[in-house]
Symmetry: C2
Subunit: 355 residues, 2 copies
């Protein structure tokens, strides 16, 4: 079971998590240049946008990086539910002198129905491609593997990890319940045992015949050392990188990250239509009143409304409706350049391993 | 910040969790004799019962052990809610040819209102006393400390840990959301950020001036090594010991522990009146129908009904209504004598630390 990072020449057992909307080609390149694996998330763009991001990263590093795609089932439109949702949001928009949109669209295409994105990846051959929310078809996996791309898939339980192994991926990203951003469960309707990263990483390390990459609440070298002890090949850190200057998080997000809400992240589906771990903010607070009990439209149809609301409020100086994803490690976030953070993590890891 | 285990002569950084109803004086003694810290839980008995347990443990070991008490606020009776609860349970009792009790009692006294238990502890001086669900008064803490007893208190977040430090306890048990049994939140009505053990342990190790003991989903030496890397002084394991012959878990519980439900533990308040992580069983399944939406009486008033139902069903051969607490690590449970398990954990820990 050779390590996948070793195979592609990454020296440190550290992956910067792909965070669509927060990570950037600059961040990915800085991380890769510092000896870890940088990532970009292309779930919020199309093949043309992804091409630009890949080219931007390549202009900054000749090293390997990871491109992450979302493999959810295509959204199912439900005009009635969507109209009801917008009606609930109308008074919130009104607070910022705005109207909700008249209708909602599936603003991002799933990778499962995006042949142009597949073609782009096969053509540009990033060192690593990672799947979230599920797995593409055997044909697509075959094409990506044929292009020499290392494949990762996320799992929140043993069954999802076994599905990744059966599909032929090279390593499994064990996403603990602590992790920030979208929870990668394949079927959003299925019961979720909400496994923590320690339980999940150890379970997968013991039960599946592939390397495991642990994700969730890992913020420093001690956290990296801990998951290596659990049998992980590497740690994937997202929240740790939000405060970096290379991140595209806005100032409202950064302030929230370093504020008291960091201790009380919560899972919400209200922003995008799928559960994601977020800093508590004005949007998540809508659960207690304006959106209480409302039927949530599909991902990413809900996100169309969420982004419109965030933009309307921000135009009036209220930044608390943005997608401020963060994991349970948020209280330990640091603000430093991504390359410096990687060097710091490496030093801390070495110190932890010497004890 | 000297380690508390060192102070009392415990050689291994391992504590067997006090599990009222599952751990036994025999288990505690076997663990202590093997070089870790054994524990008994006396939350489900009174001072006379606790005395017997302490004497039984002392007859088997001259080493240190931990006595755990529950520090919840006294139950608040609500005859209407309790009558409604029993009415909901009536058809479930009927399935086993039984009637629900005519009324419910606060079957266990909280340590906060149990001066006889305080006197017993001061008199018998166990090496360690640990608090769950909260903290006793300064006067009680003063008496216990005056008797030379090392004190631990549980915390599920930073504020609870800080309260323990302010009260003068010697170390904090960081109980992750993964942990089996009763979730130790001080205020069951307050929002719970559900911190995983990795996030919580690292946060407390970084932020509080006391040793931290990590609890939740730790099942083997790799797990122990992981939490030590996070800065914990020791790991507390409960679920790992359920399968030991010294445990008082019945065969139904053991079968469930080693069955498929181990992968899907869930938090339920239906059994006792407080949230506890349980194997899925007939009792937890009542949430979907018989007890759906019902107002749950206070802890431990609810437990009175739960125990009556478990007994009625068991009398007819149905063991699926017992309190089958287990943590998210359950799929990695092993059945071996407690002393042998401690020796195995020690070997695994040494191996993990050498890598």
């Amino acid at each position: 079971m050779a390590g996948v990072l070793q195979r592609i020449g990454v020296e440190l057992p550290i992956i910067q998590a792909p965070m669509a909307g927060v990570s950037t080609p600059q961040m990915a390149a800085a991380v890769t240049e510092a000896g870890a694996l940088g990532s970009i998330g292309v779930a919020a763009t199309d093949a043309a946008g992804a091409r630009k991001m890949i080219e931007a990263a390549r202009s900054l590093t000749s090293g390997p990086f990871n491109v992450n795609v979302f493999c959810h089932r295509p959204a199912s439109a439900d005009p009635e539910r969507e109209a009801a949702w917008l009606a609930r949001l109308r008074p919130v928009f009104a607070r910022y002198g705005a109207e909700p949109p008249t209708g909602l669209r599936e603003i991002y295409r799933t990778f499962l129905a995006d042949p142009a994105m597949v073609d782009l990846l096969v053509e540009t051959r990033p060192a690593v491609v990672s799947f979230h929310f599920g797995l593409p078809s055997a044909a697509v996996i075959g094409r990506l593997k044929g292009a020499g791309i290392v494949l990762l898939s996320s799992a929140t339980n043993l069954a999802e990890a076994e599905a990744g192994v059966a599909a032929g991926v090279d390593a499994i990203v064990a996403q603990g319940y602590e992790a920030g951003g979208h929870r990668g469960v394949f079927d959003p309707e299925a019961p979720d045992p909400r496994l923590g990263v320690l339980a999940l990483t150890r379970l997968l390390a013991r039960k599946i015949p592939r390397p495991v990459i642990a994700a969730g609440a890992i913020m420093d070298g001690a956290g990296v050392a801990a998951v290596l002890d659990l049998g992980a090949e590497a740690a994937q850190l997202g929240t740790a990188f939000i405060g970096c200057p290379e991140s595209s998080a806005d100032n409202f997000f950064r302030e929230a990250l370093f504020g008291p809400g960091a201790a009380a992240t919560e899972m919400t589906a209200l922003v995008s239509g799928r559960l994601a771990r977020s800093l508590p903010n004005r949007f998540t607070a809508l659960k207690d009143a304006e959106l209480k009990g409302a039927a949530v439209p599909d991902y990413p149809i809900t996100y169309d409304a969420g982004k419109a609301l965030a933009a309307a409020a921000k135009a009036r100086g209220e930044g608390g409706y943005g997608a401020q994803w963060a994991g349970q490690g948020a209280p330990l976030a640091r603000a430093m350049p991504a390359g410096e953070l990687v060097a710091t993590l490496a030093r801390e890891l070495a110190a932890a391993r010497q004890r």
